[in-house]
Amino acid sequence: MKPSLYFFLGVFGAIALSWAAIVVGSHRQLRALGTHFDPLDNMSVPAAMSGQAAQGQRVYQELGCGACHTQQVRRYGYGWDQNRGWGERQSVARDYALQTHPQLGQARIGPDLANFGERAVKAGVDRAKLYRMLHDGQGGMPAFSFLFERRAIVGQKSSAALALPVAPGWQVVPTSRAEALVSYLLALKQDYALPEAPAAVIPAAVPATPAPAASTAPAATAPAKTP
């Protein structure tokens, strides 16, 4: 039995060592991570999500949205996340410190959503437009029509009813899951400053064919964006 014992100790030990180093090691490093108090704004960031947004995170996971969408912005210069306007700084561990179900995602068949809420506000995308986007689908995104229900209008038409051609006396309204999901999407923001993640200094113009000599000039003239 001796050789078997050494064999199993070897296999067990090899896996245990990696677990202790990577999983336990990083957990020990990360578990002390709390919120950051910003004395200028007199608030702690990141803020905890509202109840409805936290519910929306569960809906997001239940629908497997992470199969197509990530929620992590890589640093400027590594990938093109920030050039695509997905965030002004890279995502760091503290951004997710309060989340019990972080959705970092595995694939980018659709855009990154780490700052979707912030982008939506800038682009004028409100709840009504988001409901419509979810109901109809868009680009390669399937329609999530099952998040909405057709209901008879009793009294007044719902303010959240979608502008769809339906029979008179009827309306299409978002279910509570659709409402939670949209609240969650609009709450996705990493727009606060953290000491460990200053906003990237993105040159205002990147030449299409960067030559080594020319590339320093635009960078020098571009003012650094301060958080």
Partner: protein
């Protein structure tokens, strides 16, 4: 681990050995349920593949929404097909090489029934919305106790076959088989404990998910395939493996290094930088393992093979070496910034499950099933057609996914133009550009699945008494040594 050069001396003739007679029903149940899951998981994978280029397909049914179908297909193939058939092959070869009567066959039979009930509940649970966000760990947490208890009942039988062995010398096939049987509960229960039982918060979850998911890929699925390959290749062509005395280095290189590589997937992500760095470095070191596997098997490729079973195994070995090469190439940060988050991630898992494990398991099935049923395969033509469907389908499937991944990776590059506007392809444009590739991948997957159906048909025909007259070249071509 002083090992003789070839396991073919382990059984002196082709008479059924103890494990084939005394564990027959448990092995047959494992194989039958495994093939059932291959067909079921394959159809789910086909739905997923169609939805990639035709998003509206089945989209109005919540149970078949994109993310759920992907998770269900992956779980059915991995915990239904790979777990059942992989364990059957591992248990069988441990029994054959160990030369002792199997223990715990009745317990195994019960365990297998409960395991498959658990996987069924898990896959239905995923379709109903209880899915986790990490690859290979997507089944709902509530099936874990059932799966764990069931696995204990039949996993023990596999480990007993290793511990009870009568021969002092051991073979590479035995090391890989017993390590795989041992690794599944290790990674899965550690992930369950840290993601569900006492969940860690924040990005620590993603680290656990990456570590355990990749651990299952490389320390469970890959060794199951390698165990079958190291057993079947010398057995079927009757020749020693080249450079076999390095096989133990190859084995330990995989076991020691592979558990460290998972976090490479988090490169550039919101985790401490050392976490992915460890993963990237260990991926590069793991090349040693693939080099040794390549040197063990390279002579077999030159000779070619008259045995259909061996041809299947060779396709799997070639795919394994290709997967090692791509893993290494994609590990570099400079490459990963383009390829991360693309279809290449899906291509990697597909290559391992459908490209490496599946052909090797098919080869093992063609060799093993006649020994369990006592009947020859009904049709050689079906086996040959299955072989063609498997390798051509695999080639088309992987080419489609890699093409889609590279198209997507280059299209995600965005450039901020001089006027401050972002000049980048929209996701609708990227979708249109990858669509032809994704259609190709569906075609390949369809062929692959057709092959599985042919095996099923051939297996059912085998049970028809009239087929006794037919003779299989697979059975005949196995050397008598």
């Amino acid at each position: 681990m002083n090992a003789p050069a070839t396991p073919s001396s382990a059984s002196s003739n082709d008479e059924p050995v103890a494990v084939e007679t005394q564990a027959r029903w448990a092995l047959l149940l494992l194989l039958a349920l495994g093939i059932k899951w291959f067909v079921a998981g394959g159809f789910l994978a086909l739905i997923h593949s169609i939805q990639l280029h035709t998003p509206e397909f089945l989209a109005r049914y919540e149970w078949f929404t994109f993310g759920r179908v992907q998770a269900a297909a992956e779980s059915a193939l991995v915990f239904g097909w790979v777990a059942n058939v992989g364990f059957a092959i591992a248990w069988w070869l441990l029994g054959r090489l160990g030369g002792e009567r199997p223990r715990g066959a009745v317990g195994a039979l019960i365990g297998v029934a409960f395991w498959n009930a658990g996987v069924t509940v898990g896959v239905i649970g995923i379709l109903a919305g209880d899915l986790g966000p990490y690859a290979l760990l997507q089944m709902p947490a509530y099936v874990f106790p059932l799966l764990g208890a069931a696995y204990a009942a039949f996993g023990v039988a596999g480990l007993a076959a290793w511990l009870d062995r009568r021969r002092a010398d051991t073979y590479a096939a035995q090391w890989y088989a017993s390590a795989a049987i041992f690794a599944l509960p290790w990674f899965y229960s550690a992930a369950y404990a840290m993601l569900s039982l006492y969940p860690v918060t924040g990005v620590s979850q993603a680290i656990v998910g990456a570590w355990a998911g990749e651990g299952l890929r490389l320390v469970w699925i890959a060794p199951l395939a390698l165990a079958a390959a190291y057993y079947l290749v010398p057995k079927l062509n009757g020749q020693k493996l080249a450079a076999y005395n390095y096989a133990d280095v190859g084995f330990w290189a995989l076991i020691v290094l592979a558990p460290w590589v998972g976090t490479r997937a988090l490169v550039g992500g919101p985790v401490p930088v050392w976490v992915p760095t460890v993963g990237v470095s260990c991926t590069l070191l793991l090349t040693l393992h693939y080099l040794i596997v390549a040197s063990n098997f390279k002579a077999v490729f030159r000779r070619g093979s008259p045995s259909q079973a061996l041809r299947f195994v060779l396709v799997g070995i070639a795919a394994y070496l290709a997967s090692g090469l791509t893993d290494t190439a994609l590990a570099f940060r400079s490459v990963a910034q383009y390829t991360q988050f693309t279809y290449l991630g899906e291509a990697r898992l597909t290559l391992l499950v459908l490209g490496v494990f599946t052909p090797i398991a098919f080869g093992a099935l063609y060799f093993l099933l006649p020994r369990l049923t006592g009947r020859a395969w009904a049709s050689d033509g079906l086996i040959r057609t299955h072989f063609r469907a498997t390798w051509i389908g695999l080639l088309i499937l992987i080419a489609g996914l890699v093409g889609a991944g590279l198209t997507q990776g280059t299209a995600l590059v965005a450039i901020r133009a001089a006027d401050g506007q972002i000049a980048a392809q929209t996701f609708a444009e990227i979708f249109a550009a990858t669509r032809p590739w994704l259609l190709t991948a569906t075609l390949g997957l369809g062929l692959e699945l057709l092959g599985g159906v042919l095996l099923l048909v051939n297996g059912i025909l085998q049970l028809v008494p009239a087929s006794d007259a037919a003779h299989s070249d697979t059975l005949a071509s196995a050397p008598a040594s």
